[in-house]
Symmetry: D3
Subunit: 154 residues, 6 copies
Amino acid sequence: MKSSTLPLKLSHLDQQGAARMVDVADKPIQHRVAVAEARLTCQPATIRALKAEALKKGDALCVARIAGIQAAKQTPQLIPLCHPLPLNKVSVEFRTGRDFIRILCEVATDAKTGVEMEALTGASLAALALYDMMKAIDKTMVIEGLRVVKKEKR
Amino acid sequence: MKSSTLPLKLSHLDQQGAARMVDVADKPIQHRVAVAEARLTCQPATIRALKAEALKKGDALCVARIAGIQAAKQTPQLIPLCHPLPLNKVSVEFRTGRDFIRILCEVATDAKTGVEMEALTGASLAALALYDMMKAIDKTMVIEGLRVVKKEKR
Amino acid sequence: MKSSTLPLKLSHLDQQGAARMVDVADKPIQHRVAVAEARLTCQPATIRALKAEALKKGDALCVARIAGIQAAKQTPQLIPLCHPLPLNKVSVEFRTGRDFIRILCEVATDAKTGVEMEALTGASLAALALYDMMKAIDKTMVIEGLRVVKKEKR
Amino acid sequence: MKSSTLPLKLSHLDQQGAARMVDVADKPIQHRVAVAEARLTCQPATIRALKAEALKKGDALCVARIAGIQAAKQTPQLIPLCHPLPLNKVSVEFRTGRDFIRILCEVATDAKTGVEMEALTGASLAALALYDMMKAIDKTMVIEGLRVVKKEKR
Amino acid sequence: MKSSTLPLKLSHLDQQGAARMVDVADKPIQHRVAVAEARLTCQPATIRALKAEALKKGDALCVARIAGIQAAKQTPQLIPLCHPLPLNKVSVEFRTGRDFIRILCEVATDAKTGVEMEALTGASLAALALYDMMKAIDKTMVIEGLRVVKKEKR
Amino acid sequence: MKSSTLPLKLSHLDQQGAARMVDVADKPIQHRVAVAEARLTCQPATIRALKAEALKKGDALCVARIAGIQAAKQTPQLIPLCHPLPLNKVSVEFRTGRDFIRILCEVATDAKTGVEMEALTGASLAALALYDMMKAIDKTMVIEGLRVVKKEKR
C-alpha cells in the first residue's frame, strides 16, 4: 500500500521537517474568494435572549461581526505560516435556528495565495465572540462544524 | 411561559443593548484555571502524514502549539469585550485518533475574571494552524466540538 | 518672569531630554476612573442617515463602540510612553445632536497610574470609526473637543 | 422633503444594516495622498516648556511623530472596516503657535482605496502622544479640528 | 576633509532632522531577497541539552523558528520607519557548533523596497526565543554578529 | 561523563519536549529589574553622520529609543513562551564610541517572573531601528554583544 510507505507530505515543512512560509513568488496574482462557516449550538432560551436583544437593537451580533472581520485581517499574525495579504472584502453573516447560530465569513482578495484561513479565522472568532457574550446565561454551548464551504479563484 | 416574556439578559450589553466591558472592579482576585478542547477531523492518511512528520521530528504540532499559546495571550485583542489579564500559564496538548486530532488548551491566572475565553481561543487557533499545514493534502477537514471542558477557581 | 527663564519640565523626558517610561514602582495601586469625550460635527442629513440606520438596527454605533473599546485596551501599544495596565471596565456612549455626535469613553482600573490616555484614545478611535462609516456621504465632518471630562482616584 | 423620507445610506452597512468591509475588487489601483490635521490647544507656558525641551534636543516632538507614523500603519487594526493597504509614505509635522500645536499627517499609497483614515489616525495619535507627555504640567489641553485637509488621487 | 565638514546624510530624516517614512512611490516593484544571520554563543553543555531535546523531538528549535517568522512579518510594527510589505516567503534555519548556534533568516518579497530589516528582525527574535528557553541553564549566553549576509534584487 | 548521559533540561519544554509557558502561579510577586546591552558597530563616518543629526536636533536616537521601549512592552507577543507582565519602567540609553554605538535597555516590574527578555528585546529592536536609519550610508554594520548586564530582584 503506497499510502503507508510513502505518506503524504505537509507542504509547510521542508525535507527536514522544519516549518517555513511556502514561497509564493512564482504564483500568479488571482482573484480569490473563500467562505467558511461555524455553528454555535446553545439552549433555545439563549437564542431567545439573543433575539430579544436584537429587537432592542442590541449590539450582540454586531460585536461578533466586528470580531470576525478584525480577526480575518489579523490572520497572518495568528496563523504562523500564513502570508500577509491585501484583502478586498470581509463580511460576516448570522443565521439563527431554534438552538444554534450559523456563522458565515466571506473573504476576497487579489493575491498569490488563497484566503481560506482568513475565512476560517473570521468565522471562528465571530463564533467565540458570541460565545463570550452568552456564556453567563448558557453553560452548554459548543462550536461545531468549522469548515470551508466555498473556495474560488479566477 | 416565563422564558418568552422575560428572556435571559446578556451580561455584556447594558439596558439599551450597548456592548461594554463588564466592570470587574469589585470581584476578588482568585486563582482560575480553564481547559478547552477542539477536535480536528480529517482523513486517516492525513493523520499518517502528520505522524510521519513527527517521526522525522517535524515541526507540525509545535507550530500549532505556539499558535495556540500566542492566541491565548492575545485574547483581549481578539474578543472585543474580554479583559486584559496576566496569565500564569498556557499549554496546548494533542491526542491523535485514527481520523482526528484532539486539541486541549489549558490556561491559568490569578485575576478578577476567568480564562475560559483564553482557553477556547488557544484551542481554536491551534486547530486552525494544524488545518493550515494540512489543507494542501486534505480537503475534508472540519473543526468540531470546540468547548470548555474544565473551569475552576479558588 | 519665572516661567520663561525656568520653564515647566516634561515628566516623560529625562535631564538630557530623552524619552522614557516614567518609573511607577513606588506609586500605590489605586482605583482610578477617567472619562473622555469628543464631538464629531457633521451635516444634519448625516445625523438623519445615522438614525435611519439605528431604526433598522444598523451596526454603525456598535462598530464605533467596539473600535473605542479595543483602542482603549491597546493604548500602551499606541502611546509610546504609556504603561501596560489591567483594565476593569471600558464603555463608550453616544449622544446625537442636530449636527453632531458626542462620544464619551469611560475607563476604570486598579493600578499605579491613571487611565486618562486610555479614555482619550478610546473616544478618539470611536469618533474616527464613525467618521469612516459616514465619510462617503459627508465631506464636512470634523472631530472637535477631544478632552478629559472626569478623572478620579481613591 | 426627500432627505427625511429617503435618507442618505451609509456605505459600510448592507441592506440589513450589517457592518462589512466594502468590496474594493473592481476599483483601480491609483496613487492616492491624504493629509489630515489636528490642533492641540494648551497654555502658553506649555508651549514654552515644549520649546525648551526642543532647544535641549529633547524627544517630545519625535515621540509624537513616531506615534503618528506607527498609528497610520496600524489603521486597519484600529478602524474595523478599513482595508489593509501598502503605504508608500507617512510623515508627521508640527507647527507651534502661542497656545496651540498644529499636527499634520500625510500618507501616500498606490492602492484601490484612499488613505484619509490613515492620515486622520496618524494625526490623532500624534496629538494624543503629545498630550500624554504634557498632561502633568497642563490640565487644560483639548484636541480640536481633527479633519482631512487634502485628498488626491491620480 | 570632506567627510567631516559635510557628513553623510541619514535618509530617514528630513532637512530639519525629523523622522519620516521615506516615499517609495517612484521605485519599481522588484523581486527582492535578503538573508540575515546571528550567532548565539553559549556553554557546550547548553548545546548538548538542546540536542538532547531535539533527539526527543523537542520543540526548542521550532519555537525559535516560529518566533523568527512571526517577527519578520511584524517588522513594520517593530521598526518605526519600515514600510508594510507583502512577503512571499520567510524561513529560519539553525546550525549548531560546539558552543554556539548560528541562526539564518531568509525573506523574499516583490515590492518597492527591500527586506533586510525583515531578515534581521527575524534572525534577532529567533535568537532571543532560543535564549529565553535556555536562560535557566546557561547564564553566559550572548548574541553576536547579527548582520545581513545576502541582499539581492532583480 | 555526567553531562553527556544526563544533559541539562530546558525548563520551557515538558517531559515529551513540548513547549509550554512555565506555570508561575506559586512564585511571589517581587520587584525585578534587568538591564541588557547591545553594540552596533559601524564606520566612523556613520557615527559622525549620527552626531551631525544630533547637533541639528535630529530624531535618530529618539526613533531608536521609542522602538526599544515599544518592543519591550510587546515582548510577550514576540517571544512565544514569555508571560504578559505589567511594567513599571522602560528606558533606553545610547553611548557612542568612535565606530560603535552602545545601546542599554533597562526594564523594571513588580511581577512573578523577571524582565531580562524584555530588556534584551528592547535593546535588540533599538539597535535594529538605528541600523534601519543608517543602512543607506553604511553597509558594514553588525550588532554584537547582545546580553544581560544586570538582573536583580528584591
